[in-house]
Amino acid sequence: MRVHLFVPCFIDQLFPNVAVSTLKVLRHLGCDVVFPESQTCCGQPAYNTGYFDEARLMAMHEVNSLIGMVSDKSEFDFKHDYIVGPSGSCVAMIRNSYPELFSEDERYSKLSLDLSKRVYEFSEFIDKIIGIDNFKGELNTTVSFHDSCHGLRELGIKEGPRKILRRIEGLKLIELPYTEVCCGFGGTFSVKFPEISAAMADEKLRNFAGTGADIMVSGDSSCLMHLQGRARRTGLPKRFAHIAEIMAESLPAERS
């Protein structure tokens, strides 16, 4: 199964280990993974701030990059290939918002609709396309899973990541109270209204601390960046990790 890896800009720049782990896990599961190197940003920050024109230009570039039309040799086969990214939020941007952005552009409208059927969030891809049973890991730890809003509500991801985590022997999953409440990141919201954003993070962190778990795991590094930044500021010594990182760490080769 061939996969074009979609690595959101901030993961590329700030959390490369998330992308490395994603790559590792997908290859471990037998995928033929390529990373189209001309990709940059999906345009979500501009889109969610109301700059639709800027977002549209970035989206065009991203679409072309992801299907290997810009500089890479690997052209995308819409019948057999998949695009997989380790971010519910950015995948939702491509799957749900691109067709909206391009509603008045015939060519890109069709392209983005075709694309939206082939783009998957990482855990969703394993759950729905590869099959959970193909994955098995081992890691002694206690985690809570944080549902990112876009993963949960835009993509309908809820049980998949939990099923995956349960495939890791030695891992104990403790549910967060009010797990479906937003952590307060919200893209530019986090810097436009930092006090509210931080108050929301505190609510989430209080609930997390209450579980006694060691690691907060999520499918979105943006939520984690925000929560970890707040936890470090307020002195909560916990680890925040992307589900791909936890999976990669749980693989046999990784433990040796």
């Binding site: 701030t49 109301g50 700059y51 509500r153 930092p194 929301m200 970890q228």
Partner: protein, 459 residues
Amino acid sequence: MELRSRKFRTLYKTEVGNAQLRANLSKATLQAVDKRGQSFAEVDFKFLQDEAKKIKQESLSRLNDLLSQFEDSARKNNCRIFYAQTPEKANAYVLDIARRYGARTAVKSKSMVTEEIGLAPFLIRNGIETVETDLGEYIVQLAGETPSHITTPAIHKSRTEISRLFHDKLGTELNSDPAFLTAEARRVLREKFLSADIGISGANFLVAETGDIVIVENEGNARLSTSAVKVHIVVTGIEKVIPKFSDLRIFMRLLGRSSTGQKITSYVSLLRGPSTEDEKDGPEEVHIILLDNGRSGLLGTDHQEVLHCIRCGACLNVCPVYRNIGGHAYGSVYPGPIGSLVTPLYFGEQNAPDLPFASSLCGNCTEVCPVGIDIHHQLLAVRHEIKSAKKGGVERFIFRNYRKAMLRPGRYRLAGKIARGLSKTPLLRYFLKGWTQHRELPRFPSRSFREIYKSAKAK
């Protein structure tokens, strides 16, 4: 009420630091969220939501005809109809009726539209004692404040604060037991009901087919405000009309569950006008004021669905932003997610430039909306309109250059490298102070993923 939504940036900052407020709100809203969830166990929420949305779509798309039909039905029931474009006109009409009747006291039940037009303060200024009779509204009125929630007006107040208020204003003993406080309010308000001349209410629904004015409530104050008076004045928005009596089977199941987790509210009044010859009490006159005030301007636009709102308050209860700043921060009668739409869309986007941005777009509001308003995407659309109307500005400059960098992978790589290089300098922290005042920056890696990927590939 005076619109202060332009001052949102200042207002929210004082509220977000108020620990008591946050504690009050957290307790109340989370309880409402839990109860709401449980109450939908026996019914098909999706079905109800779809039907309600369909009915509201039809109601708006046939609004001209349905209003005419409602007028006919209501006139047959001996009601009088008055259309008002502005709050001033609606207020003037109410005052005119009150004066004609020589009214001294008006009892009022909860209604968002009367809050919107500032009816109670207006009547009081004009010498008519106007008493809020919903307990929450009464508390807020005694305190000289405005409601901070659509269905739970005094949600921001603790029992201790209310007990102190009653002690100061009514001379009751300092007892913070809600049952005691409620009994005190009952005692005072009962006297008001018995001496009132006119009653003022809103309407949850107007049924075109039958002329019914439908009012839902829990306390019985709306029942009394509309029954123990000579004149009943209904003040409501033009968007409240629905086509059929049978449509109520959908809305009655949604409204109570969405607002308080009740299968149906304790009281549902289906009012059809002044008392008939066979009846021995009830109003002699019923006036229905249909307010526009910015509503008709949304028809035929992408924002038409905002008019579906039945003011249940579910989106406020689930909203983590609302929970952390409370209703007053919004500076508008309509707070929370739906308020961040209604305020700019009814009263002008220039009057609420920040509200549509005060959302993390988590979408929980959209998920619970009983009438299927895509609230968070509507917020996004209003953001776009606000940005499109404003030329220039630092933010636009940043996004334009950001985009330029993103279209050239080379520039993107370079920019990333520079940013990561700068991460240890105070300069970047300065530029990111919106972030760093409240959070640590992540530890910047020395190499980006693409660099790692490239070097691995080269091996």
